[in-house]
Symmetry: C2
Subunit: 322 residues, 2 copies
């Protein structure tokens, strides 16, 4: 097995080598290329390559599937930015802002079909399970996004529903990435499902950590202003968990959520979370989901030395709380 | 072979029997069902079933692919209605109007993935060519839609570019429908490609006729107000063709296109088209593309009695000019 950074470099190289039509169709395909150049950790394609290498020593055969998974991820970002009316992502204008909403819709549609083409570029004998996995995870992602949009119109959301939402919005694509990589590597159906579980649990841990960092993180390393979720009254793990049990803190939080957005609101809500011991609660949850992810990998037939890469991936991703 | 109306009834029944999740995900899936209930001729799935029956006597095996093709078509309508900001389609509020733009975007995405799942529901040995055909036609549809959007910002469009646009926007999905049905029926690769050509040429004939009817049709049978394209200065076959050659009529048309929208503009432009003999030109073009469609079917290995169904389909669709 290679180091994680090597897998992400290989994925990055494949993504940069994708060739799309140009000329009179620039208004369709240039936004696709722009969307794919957003950079980031390339976490999902890295996971595809790692799983293919772990099970079959064949990261090479998973290159197009990895690029397709990243294409799918960026398609969802293009459409999410239209739906959220977001003008900036990672410090760059979104497609929606740089071109217009219609371009982001149509080039996003194009990316979904291109993603399907890339993911389908596997041996004929595994096309069916790879395609089924890809389509199923896609539906779970849309379902998660829909629930997230619906939550905006609700006062309070039960913890179970919140977890369902992040399992769809964040977990399903990581699960699909690990499973598709495993199938390409030649894993048994049982092991491929265990790798889906690994990716899903990793996704939940990752999202809870992201929610935590939005309030308790360091603005320099987090990359977004701290307190954004609080000011937007966003339903995060912290809000949902804090409100899930009757407490003086929960009552105080309900009052604080009605405050005007601003530094005072952020400070007040942060104090309430501290009173409720939310940092420790979050750390415990992240650790619990990370353990579930690791347990799934341990249940596969992979030898110890190949499991370690996935343990390292977990540590790399959730090390941010420390 | 059955009668065309029987194939469309079978397609309609399969579409109505599609079962989607409900409950907490109603905001995602109810717009999908609503979009699929728009009715219409069900031309595309009818063509899938006809081709499968003609080549293999197995319309049954093509039912899900037919429903998937219709799902794809309706996905494009959901997104087109957002892009055009259209509130009505066939006399019903669009998803965009009945729910909102974000719902139309996300439920449209869901329809594209559901369409891919349905179309993939074919025997393993033909999954690859069916999926490749589906994805290729999808890209051509987006490309056609993009060109159509780009045309709005141009004064004049060359005839060749206009034809490229309608080949994508209207022809590719009809071509893909006929080809996918043929593959399911067991056609050779050559015959499947000829059926693509059939659908493509049928689509071009159909679109030119649609452009003609928008000016010269009967409002009762056409289903849309006559003159809409003229009032919107839309680039149609009539405009593009009329402007393609230097003439006093072309100059008059350029002046008339600057008139304010209204009955006087519609009457003026219609007279110019009549002076330029556009009704006869349109009829000749529709006949020429219909002949090309028929020639493609004749070039296949299909016996005479099975070709006749496709001749009937052409007559049914382009009989509207008469």
């Amino acid at each position: 097995m290679k180091r994680i950074s090597e897998y992400s470099s290989i994925a990055e190289a494949r993504i940069r080598s994708l060739s799309l039509p140009s000329g009179s169709l620039d208004n369709l395909y240039a936004p696709v290329t722009y969307g794919m150049q957003a950079g980031g950790k390339r976490l999902r394609p890295t996971l595809v390559l790692m799983a293919a290498d772990a099970f079959g020593g064949c990261a090479e055969k998973a290159l197009d599937a990895a690029a397709g998974i990243e294409m799918f991820h960026n398609f969802t970002l293009l459409h999410d930015d239209v739906m959220d009316n977001s003008d900036l992502r990672r410090g760059r204008p979104t497609v929606h802002a740089k071109w217009d909403a219609n371009t982001a819709i149509l080039s996003g549609d194009t990316m979904l079909t291109l993603a399907t083409q890339l993911v389908a570029n596997v041996d004929d004998n595994i096309l069916r399970p790879v395609l089924d996995t890809f389509n199923s995870q896609a539906l779970r992602v849309y379902e998660g996004q829909r629930l997230d949009m619906d939550f905006e119109n609700r006062e309070e959301v039960p913890l179970g529903e919140y977890l369902d939402m992040i399992k769809g919005k964040t977990g399903a694509l990581l699960g699909g990435s690990a499973k598709i990589g495993a199938i390409i590597g030649g894993a048994s159906a049982e092991d491929a499902d265990l790798m889906y579980e690994f990716g899903m649990m990793l996704g939940v841990a990752f999202q809870i950590e992201d929610d935590y960092l939005d309030t308790f993180g360091n603005a320099d390393t987090f990359g977004k202003p701290i307190g954004g979720d609080i000011n937007n009254n966003k339903k995060t793990f912290l809000t949902v968990k804090a409100l899930s049990e009757a407490s003086a803190g929960a009552d105080a939080l309900r009052v604080a959520m009605k405050m005007q957005a601003g530094p005072t609101k952020v400070k007040t809500v942060t104090r309430i979370y501290e009173t409720l011991d939310m940092p420790a609660v979050c750390r415990a949850e992240v650790a619990a989901y990370s353990s579930k992810a690791l347990a799934a990998v341990k249940a596969t037939a992979l030898p110890d030395d190949r499991r370690d890469a996935f343990r390292s991936l977990i540590e790399k991703l959730i090390g941010r709380t420390k």
